[in-house]
C-alpha cells in the first residue's frame, strides 16, 4: 500500500523500495510486541510461582478465607502429639507456606541456608518440633535477582500470630509468636540453638543494613514462638 515502484526508463524490471520511516515503524512494532509478550510471560510466571510457593495447596483458602480465619490455626490444623520431622512451614498471617530443607553447619560456621530462596532451612542437628529445645528455621529475605525471599515479610509478623510446622504425614505442630527481636549478625546463638529446655520455634532471616565487605546484613531478625495447642 505504502510502497511505490521506483522505475527507471530503461528498466525492464521494477524494484519496490520501502521508505526508511516505514522500516523503523515495523521494527518498533515488533519490538514492542516482543517486549510486551515477554512482560506478560514473566508476569504470569511470577504470579503462578507466587501462588504455588506461598499458597500451595492452601492457595484457594488463603485467597478467599476471611482475614480472621488466618489467625485461627484450628481452621488449618491442630497439634498432634509426638516429635515430627518438619516438611512444611506455614505462617498464615504472612501467606508463607514453604517447603523445609534439612541443613547443618556450613564451613564458615554458620547455619546452612536453603538452596531455594522460596524454601526454609531447618537446622537438623538441633531440636525437632515436639521435642525439647529450639527448633530453628532460616529463610532468605531476597535473592540475587532482587526477588523476594520466603521471609521477606517476616518483619511484618506480630506477637500472637500462629506458625504451623507439618511433616510429610500431615501431622503438625502449632506455635504462637511470643518474641520478635533483632540480633547482631555475630551475636552468640547458644540460647537460640539450645537443645534442652522448653520447646520453642525460632525463625531467622536477615535484617538491617547490607555490609558489602562482609557480603551480609548486619542484623538478624529472630522470631520465637511457643507451642500454642
Amino acid at each position: 500500500m505504502h510502497e511505490r515502484p521506483l522505475l527507471l526508463p530503461s528498466a525492464k524490471t521494477a524494484i519496490l523500495v520501502q521508505p526508511t520511516y516505514l522500516r523503523y515503524e515495523w521494527y518498533v512494532r515488533r519490538v514492542g510486541f516482543v517486549v510486551g509478550l515477554f512482560c506478560v510471560l514473566v508476569g504470569a510466571a511470577d504470579l503462578s510461582s507466587r501462588l504455588l510457593d506461598s499458597g500451595g495447596e492452601d492457595a484457594a483458602f488463603l485467597a478467599f478465607a476471611p482475614a480472621a480465619a488466618l489467625g485461627n490455626p484450628a481452621l488449618i490444623g491442630s497439634s498432634t502429639p509426638g516429635i515430627l520431622l518438619p516438611a512444611r512451614l506455614r505462617i498464615p498471617s504472612l501467606g508463607v507456606n514453604a517447603r523445609v530443607e534439612s541443613v547443618g553447619i556450613k564451613a564458615d560456621g554458620t547455619m546452612g541456608t536453603p538452596q531455594d530462596f522460596k524454601n526454609v532451612s531447618w537446622y537438623s542437628l538441633g531440636a525437632k518440633p515436639g521435642g525439647e529445645g529450639s527448633t530453628v528455621f532460616a529463610g532468605h529475605v531476597n535473592n540475587a535477582l532482587a526477588q523476594s525471599g520466603v521471609f521477606e515479610q517476616l518483619s511484618q509478623i506480630k506477637k500472637g500470630d500462629y506458625i504451623t510446622v507439618a511433616d510429610d504425614a500431615g501431622r503438625s505442630k502449632i506455635y504462637k509468636v511470643v518474641t520478635i527481636e533483632e540480633y547482631a549478625a555475630n551475636a552468640p546463638t547458644e540460647a537460640l540453638f539450645a537443645t534442652r529446655g522448653q520447646e520453642q520455634l525460632v525463625l531467622i532471616t536477615c535484617d538491617g543494613e547490607w555490609i558489602p565487605s562482609a557480603r551480609t546484613f548486619d542484623k538478624r531478625l529472630v522470631v520465637i514462638a511457643k507451642p500454642a495447642y
Partner: protein, 291 residues
C-alpha cells in the same frame, strides 16, 4: 648456792621416795572393797548407807562407808575379813576376796553385794516363783591364764540372773561392760578379777609374768552365719549424650546484596538493547528452523 642445795634436795627426794614406796608396798597388802546394792526400789539404800568393818592385821581404815567405786584398805600380812555392820533389811553376800589371807605386796578384791532380804511374809514381799527357769550360776573363765606385763588378758563371764556385768580388778573397775573383759596388768604376780552379775559373784585369776607369753589363737564360739542379703544390681547413672563438643552454629546468611533502582534500570535497558540487537538474528534463525 641456794639453787645448788635445792637441786641436791630434789635429787635426794627422787631417789629415796621410790625406795620408801617400795618399802611400803612390800610390807603391806591392799584390799579393794566394793559395795553394791541390788533389788533397789524407789526408797532403797545406796552403797554408802552401809558400813564395812575390816578385821585383820592393822587394817587402815578399820571401818568405812561402802562405795560402789571401791575403797582401798591396807593390811599387814595375815588373815583378814570384811563384813557389813548395818544390814537393815538387806542380805549381804561376800566375794571370795572378802575373807582370807593376804601377804605383803598382794592385792585382793572384795565385792559385797547387798540384796533385798527374801521373806515368806511381811514386807517387802518378794515372792519366789519356783516354776520360773532358774538362770545358770555366774561363772568366770580366764581365757588367758598367763600373760606378760602389758599383755592383754581376757576374761569371760557366763550365766548370772541379770544382764549387767560389773568387773572389778585390783586397780580398776569396769562397770557394765558386758560378759567379756579385756585388760592389762602392770605388775607381775597373780591377779584376781571379780565379776558381779546381780546378786552373784564370780572370780577369775590370771598370772602375770615379767616376760612375754605367746598366746594361742583364741577359739571363740562361732556365731551363726546369717543369710547373705541378695546383691541388688547397682544403680548405674544413665549415660546422657555429652554436648561438650556441641558447636552452636552462627547466624545464617540469608540475604543477598539488595538491588538499587539504577541497577534495575540498567539491567532493563541492557536487556532491551540486547533484545533489539539480537532480534533479526533470532528471527532468521526461527525462520530457518520452521521453513
Amino acid at each position: 648456792m641456794t639453787s645448788k642445795v635445792l637441786g641436791l634436795g630434789a635429787l635426794a627426794l627422787a631417789l629415796f621416795v621410790p625406795s620408801f614406796a617400795f618399802a611400803q608396798t612390800s610390807t603391806t597388802g591392799l584390799l579393794n572393797v566394793y559395795v553394791q546394792v541390788t533389788n533397789q526400789s524407789g526408797t532403797a539404800y545406796s552403797p554408802n548407807n552401809f558400813t564395812v568393818a575390816l578385821s585383820g592385821q592393822s587394817p587402815s581404815p578399820t571401818s568405812f562407808q561402802g562405795s560402789q567405786s571401791g575403797t582401798l584398805v591396807s593390811l599387814q600380812p595375815g588373815n583378814y575379813s570384811a563384813t557389813v555392820t548395818n544390814q537393815y533389811s538387806y542380805s549381804p553376800s561376800y566375794s571370795s576376796g572378802c575373807t582370807g589371807n593376804i601377804s605383803a605386796g598382794q592385792t585382793q578384791t572384795c565385792v559385797i553385794t547387798m540384796a533385798m532380804a527374801t521373806s515368806t511374809y511381811g514386807w517387802p514381799y518378794n515372792p519366789q516363783y519356783p516354776h520360773y527357769p532358774q538362770p545358770q550360776p555366774l561363772t568366770c573363765r580366764t581365757d588367758t591364764p598367763t600373760v606378760g606385763l602389758g599383755q592383754s588378758a581376757r576374761f569371760t563371764s557366763v550365766g548370772g540372773p541379770g544382764g549387767t556385768y560389773n568387773w572389778y580388778a585390783a586397780s580398776q573397775n569396769f562397770p557394765n561392760i558386758g560378759p567379756v573383759l579385756t585388760t592389762t596388768f602392770q605388775s607381775s604376780g597373780t591377779h584376781t578379777v571379780t565379776v558381779v552379775n546381780a546378786s552373784q559373784t564370780a572370780t577369775c585369776t590370771v598370772t602375770v609374768t615379767t616376760s612375754y607369753v605367746p598366746q594361742p589363737t583364741p577359739t571363740y564360739p562361732t556365731y551363726p552365719t546369717y543369710p547373705t542379703y541378695p546383691t541388688y544390681p547397682s544403680y548405674t547413672q544413665p549415660t546422657y549424650p555429652t554436648y561438650t563438643s556441641y558447636m552452636y552454629p552462627r547466624f545464617p546468611n540469608t540475604g543477598f546484596a539488595p538491588t538499587t533502582g539504577a541497577e534495575m534500570a540498567f539491567a532493563v535497558v541492557f536487556v532491551m538493547g540486547a533484545s533489539i540487537a539480537l532480534y533479526p538474528y533470532a528471527r532468521k534463525t526461527f525462520a530457518l528452523a520452521v521453513r
